[in-house]
């Protein structure tokens, strides 16, 4: 490339015209196949365009990639698991190689999960990668959402993609719940039992819903196959479809970028897909997959054999859902019992219904409509392709931090029993702390965040006006001291 004249050898080659090398046999074959396809599809034009497409570079743009790759790892390992998992609540007597459970009556779902873990070579590693990548998927997705929120990337023209992302986030946790409920061990069965209790509190239709979902009285034998069909077919189809739309819109609208020299609202500065992004993003998939494998190799997750088969009259202490369901579970722990009312002989369980059935959709609806609310309040109808630093939008950053605080209070509340034991504290005191904290801490977080943002803005302005502090103290001939400031802003 003529723009890199700094290579010393380049001076010698100046003016040389490289001979056109004849393509090798392999390249001619590839070219022939590509030509055959292009004759029939005309794909050369869009593919050529995509290869030169430019993506801006920043570590925070990697978060969505982690989510995407974790999802792909989930799909891949999940397909493997279907070869051995038996989605049936039918009874069987376990006779596999895990001795403590031999001879125990259990469901075929649980027995086959034990087989995957103990009798199928490499089964456990696939199962553990699957579970870890599911957790990673949702963690990465949430942090990606933080990035998009705090930098204002959801602003016009990207509101639709934000809404799609919100639906994806909700589907991901439903998918996760359906997945970890499948093994039918004591812990997952307790989760399904709680879910049954939640649905049953829906006003008017609760009992009918429960009998529809479970195909009769709880637990029945229908819930495992139904969760299975939701987990491997219905929800993944929606996830993949919406994800394709999500990434398609990123291509169409071009990625946002952080402001900087040469980066404007009217351009995208970065590296082209071919070869840099293909190598970086492609390589990153292998890194995500590799790290998930490493975690799955050394850190045990969900040891279902330790819990035993599901029995509705048994339970283990410290029963916890996977982390992403924690906030809803925490809400249930905080809602006091007096919120249950009897009206004309009908029971309205406001101690359960809001936390169990309303909270989840509510959180994601509020998330989904946020860009429209913000636009309505600010009246900002311009297109934005440059990202904001969180400090430069103090109110939004404050709202975000308040929301994260409220969510965290609920999440921590779902571990109140574990905390009480580990910290030697009273569970009642902890519960009260969280109950009060849910109302007090978010406004506090808003106020503190906003003040910090404004202070950081002032510091930025100070730097712009006076340059950077150098730490060099200068004494003038008349005895005054001042600090030398550096005019370089970078």
């Amino acid at each position: 490339m003529s723009t890199a004249p700094t290579r010393p050898a380049d001076a010698l080659r100046e003016g040389d015209r490289p001979a056109e090398s004849r393509p090798g046999a392999a390249a001619r074959t590839v070219g022939g196949v590509a030509g055959w396809v292009d004759d029939r599809t005309g794909a050369a034009k869009p593919v050529g365009y995509l290869m030169k497409k430019v993506f801006p570079d920043h570590w925070s743009f990697m978060l969505g990639e982690i989510a995407m790759y974790s999802m792909i790892v989930c799909l891949l390992t999940g397909a493997f698991l279907t070869f051995w998992f038996v989605p049936s609540a039918g009874h069987t007597i376990y006779d596999g190689s895990y001795v403590p459970l031999r001879g125990v009556s259990m469901s075929e779902a649980y027995a086959s999960t034990l087989n995957i873990s103990f009798d199928i070579k490499g089964g456990l590693i696939i199962r553990q990668i699957h579970h870890w990548s599911a957790l990673m998927f949702i963690v990465a997705l949430v942090v990606h959402m933080f990035r998009v929120f705090f930098t204002g990337a959801f602003r016009k023209p990207r509101e639709i993609n934000w809404a799609i992302g919100s639906v994806l986030a909700l589907l991901a946790i439903i998918e996760g719940f359906a997945g970890y409920s499948l093994p039918d061990d004591l812990l997952s069965g307790t989760g399904i039992r709680a879910m049954q209790g939640f649905v049953q509190t829906a006003p008017v239709i609760g009992t009918y819903l429960v009998y529809a979902i479970f195909g009769g009285p709880f637990p029945g034998e229908m819930i495992i196959p139904r969760l299975y069909s939701a987990h491997i077919l219905l929800i993944p189809a929606l996830l993949v479809g919406l994800f394709t739309a999500h990434i398609g819109l990123v291509f169409l609208q071009k990625h946002t970028q952080y402001p900087g020299p040469g980066r404007t609202e009217k351009n995208v500065v970065g590296f082209p897909v071919m070869p840099v992004y293909a190598a970086k993003a492609g390589g990153f998939f292998f890194i995500v997959f590799g790290i998930l494998s490493l975690i799955a190799a050394v850190v045990q997750i969900n040891p279902i054999w330790a819990y035993g088969p599901y029995d509705p009259s048994a339970v283990t202490a410290g029963s916890q859902p996977d982390w992403y369901m924690g906030f809803a579970d925490g809400a249930l722990r905080l809602l006091p019992g007096w919120l249950e009312f009897e009206i004309f002989g009908y029971t309205l369980s406001m101690n359960i219904f809001p936390g169990a059935l309303l909270l989840l959709p509510l959180v994601y609806v509020v998330l989904g409509v946020y860009p429209f609310l913000e636009r309505w309040v600010t009246g900002d109808d311009r297109e934005h392709h440059l990202l904001q630093r969180p400090r430069n939008s103090p109110v939004r950053t404050g709202i975000g931090m308040a929301a994260i605080t409220a969510y965290s209070v609920l999440l921590f509340a779902s571990g109140n029993d574990i905390m009480a034991i580990k910290l030697g504290m009273s569970i009642n005191d902890l519960t009260w702390f969280f109950r009060i904290g849910f109302f007090v801490l978010p406004p506090l977080a808003f106020w503190v965040t906003k003040r910090i943002c404004l202070s950081l803005q002032r510091r930025d302005r100070d730097t712009v006006l006076h340059g950077r502090e150098t730490g060099t103290i200068v004494r003038t001939p008349d005895g005054r001291f001042f600090e030398r400031h550096d005019t370089e802003l970078t």
Binding site: A194, N267, V298, P312, S319, G337, Y346, I352, T431
Partner: protein, 374 residues
Amino acid sequence: MNEQDTPTHGSEVGPTGHGTAVRLDQGHIIGDGGIPERFSNPGLPVHVPRAADLDEDAARRAEKQVTTLFGISILGTLLFIVLYFLIDVEETIYVPGIGVTSASNLALGVTLALALLGIGFGAIHWAKTLMPDHEMVEERHPLRATDESRDRVVHEMREGGNSSQLTRRPFLKYTLGGALGLFAVPLVLQVAGSLGPMPQKSLSLTFWHGGPSGPGQEPEFKPLRLMRDPENTPVRADEVTVGSVYHILPEGLLDLEEGVLEEKAKAAVLLVRLQEDEIQSEKQLDWGYQGIVAYSKICTHVGCPVGLYEQVTHHLLCPCHQSTFDVTRDCEVIFGPAKRSLPQLKITVDDEGYLVSEQPFAEAVGPSYWERGQ
């Protein structure tokens, strides 16, 4: 709200300073408020060549690093294949920091990770050291289509409506709308209608009513012995010492051919013996037998088994959401999200001294539901 969006005029922060954070007469440089109206775009920064751009040795080193990483990946793959056949699935291994773990899981996971990470780090190192690092600039174009394109869409839609005579013959429109609006109803009806049976009375009945209590079943009451779970043996009143706890199921439940879990989910009972003078409720004393009391084990919150009994305080704690019930006060809720007491099962002893139910639960057990009080 957004201080940086307002253009920074020099006059705004005058040299006199009026309590703002930044004063222009302070500090060393400029100090005259000569801030430009807008900062001009300095353009892309100068490209800084990397070591491998300038020095062939550095480039060769980078190449060596990348090929080593790819080599590690190949090695990982080969090791995976070897270890897959070499290590038996049942073998365990002690690893410091992890404990005893499945040898095959550890070996396969680590080698797979090597195979994957080698490719990943190799590719990225290649991109960072040897692939071009010149940033490219791509122009953005407005997403909005041109006015002509928009008008054409509107025009084609109108034209389509006119030429299909939809606008001239409105009944076409109404009936088509109706048909399209309704055609999904049969499909929805099939699913919604056939997913499960009607609950009927099954949520308010339990096996203690005299037998299986699924939808459509209405067992006739007979006294049932209290059986230990899982031994399935009856309990004599004189065996129950003060402070002991039993998991109880009704006689016959564990002998069922089918529906065991469904009945268990409603009929599970905890049996506790208290000192009679500890019991603070007259009804509780009456419904028990010499201080032996039986309570539904299914939490009135969302139905987890109330599994934790504190002998000293006589508190029952649900491990799911920490509802706490006081056994000395008729299992009232003393803390947590549940509203209702655990229902008590009225018990007595039969001729042979075994504990039996005297009547079924007087109310529905388990989590609340809308028509519970009916």
